[in-house]
Symmetry: C2
Subunit: 344 residues, 2 copies
DNA sequence: ATGCTGATTTAGATCGATCTAAGTGAGGAG
DNA sequence: CTCCTCACTTAGATCGATCTAAATCAGCAT
């Protein structure tokens, strides 16, 4: 392995061929200014010498970069992964590259990654901020001239574009379905971290909706907790030790619903005793026993929207909607809807 | 917004303070060569002028980069996400940054991303190759001097370090459990893409194991297909129309097991009729009805191992094991084990 | 032969940092 | 007072590309 051989540069290709660096540069960028014969010989020579274009050097000169950073709190969460996927799809179409970086729900890591991305002079940043993100951190990022889009939680006074699902509508939809369709007189909002903006919005509008409709709101069952499937199972099991569940429950996510449903099942409760609605509409939800009613948010499309908003900011306006689609409710067995025509 | 103001460079900080660029550079890198007073005034002035370090320029000069590319086929797959997480953890500890890029199981996208990463002069690349990856693509990447690690599928003649689970052992473990523990006389390997290396290895050793133990191997149920949960449900439903299932089934993943179990359940089959074992041990598996027996592969640790192998190649050997841990079987209800002490 | 046109090609400056090797100045030894 | 350290600072070259403005050249009309 010739490892200490110096890397081949444009100059080497140029010298070896008796042309100038500028010509090689034009060929590499596919410029129409060079003649077909020159182009071919340059490409052949570059290939022969094993030349690889140095993007860092080019970026330094041109002051532009086609990498976009996606700063995500937890890529293991399928919702987050799907959002990334949608964003990536649109970015790729317009010649940008998406680099996903994981903050692992950690403020310091997020701050470090913000700095790194700015220092790398990325073309833009899409971020789902971690729970305890300080406004100052986002403001600092925005001040550094990087085109920026935030999801999930808005920072109103920062002027940073925000994309998010209509969480207020989700809470209302869940509340209306449980109270009006199923006639539940006592309901709860189950799960979700107390600091998470979506939980605050959903829980708020859910509570308003059900209280306005004359149902009572179960405070004990509506205590927030981290939204893992096992956490949900444990929390539900503990609560069921103290007494029966409320008549209807809107869960912060489908995973939370899975945990809750298992606990209910083990205690012998059915959807007729406790109607459960989830949020996210995961693929597993249709096959869970009982099949889980869920409110879908179309994360992939949200990701696409984010990318479009960012590109508009960058100055490469793409076509397609720049607001996310409304959430949709998919009634299944877990709330007692028992649809005759399952979606499989 | 002062948008057209030229970016502040080290030179600006230096001039504004009456020192040299070199001094500013030393301060920015935290060198002990500068005096405390100089350091402080430089930092203050940099902050005042809104200076941000230009990593691209630095990398050009130093010929080094602390970004590592993780080329992943499908970040929505929780297994892939966990591997990325583990790799990231170790890379961060040693001062590197992990940038995850998604190939969406597409050969052209993968090739494009390989090129981009090389052009960006990343410190290294960890890749889970897409199904139809040509050896030439990996060879080309390896030839471009980038430290490289591949997972899931080895490219033996390329000399590229490989990290992967012991799929042969997984197949054998599954086979032994079904045949020896549960006494199944007719078994099958259900699901997985025909081109996927893990499927080939697992299915092969599973078949050998069960045949050697005198059980018969159901070819019809062992046809490969894409490993989605809904695909698995449809495939299983279709097969059940033609007749009863084999006595024992090893599934290519837990998601495949979920789909199969739903189809079995709807037809009234129990774990006593058809014992099911999955692979991956997802969190949902413990809460599925019936709880799903599964072979765990510890994806996070595999990710860590990958990063360690890569770092060794780069020349920053970390401590910790550089071979992945062996898979472990977690017996639950779906194979009929019905453990008295559930893991929750 | 001369001048003009349009198509190619190129020299030299530049992007913003780091590195090398040399320079400066204060304090102590001779 | 001079010389030598030692701690700190710096000028100028350099990394590998792009950009600007000018040069070259062939072909053609005058």
């Amino acid at each position: 392995m010739i490892n200490d051989a110096r890397r081949v540069r444009m100059l080497d290709v140029a010298n070896s061929l008796g042309v100038s660096r500028a010509t090689v540069s034009l060929v590499m960028r596919g410029s129409p200014l060079v003649s077909a014969t020159t182009r071919e010989s340059v490409l052949a020579e570059a290939d022969r010498l094993g030349y690889v274009y140095n993007q860092a050097a080019a970026s330094l000169r041109t002051q532009r970069n086609d990498v976009v950073g996606l700063v995500m709190p937890d890529i293991v969460n399928p919702l987050v992964a799907e959002i990334s996927l949608g964003a990536q799809e649109v970015l790729n179409e317009l010649g940008y590259f998406a680099a996903i970086v994981n903050t692992a729900e950690n403020v310091e890591t997020q701050q470090r990654l913000f700095r790194t991305l700015v220092q790398q002079r990325v073309a833009g940043v899409i971020v789902i901020p971690v729970l305890r993100t300080a406004s100052a951190d986002v403001a600092e990022l925005a001040r550094s001239q990087v085109p920026l889009v935030v999801l999930t939680r808005a920072f109103p006074d920062s002027g940073v574009p925000f994309v998010g699902t209509d969480d207020t509508l989700i809470g209302r939809m869940g509340g209306e379905h449980l109270v009006e369709v199923h006639g539940c007189r006592e309901v709860a909002y189950f799960g979700g971290n107390a600091l998470a903006t979506p939980r605050v919005s959903r829980e708020g509008s859910f509570r308003e909706t059900v209280v306005a409709a004359g149902a009572s709101y179960d405070k004990m069952w509506s205590q927030p907790f981290d939204a893992g499937i096992v956490d949900a199972y444990r929390a539900a099991s503990a609560l069921l030790e103290k007494g029966p569940p409320p008549r209807g429950i809107l869960c912060h996510s489908d995973n939370v619903a899975f945990g809750l449903l298992k606990a209910l099942q083990l205690k012998g409760y059915t959807p007729q005793d406790c109607a459960v609605v989830g949020i996210d509409d995961l693929l597993q939800s249709q096959l869970w026993t009982p099949s889980v009613s869920s409110i879908a948010v179309q994360p992939t499309e949200i990701g696409r929207v984010c990318a479009r908003v960012l590109l508009t900011e960058i100055g490469t306006p793409p076509n397609g909607p720049t607001t996310p689609p409304p959430p949709t409710l998919h009634p299944r067995t877990s709330c007692g809807c028992n649809p005759t025509n399952p979606s499989l």
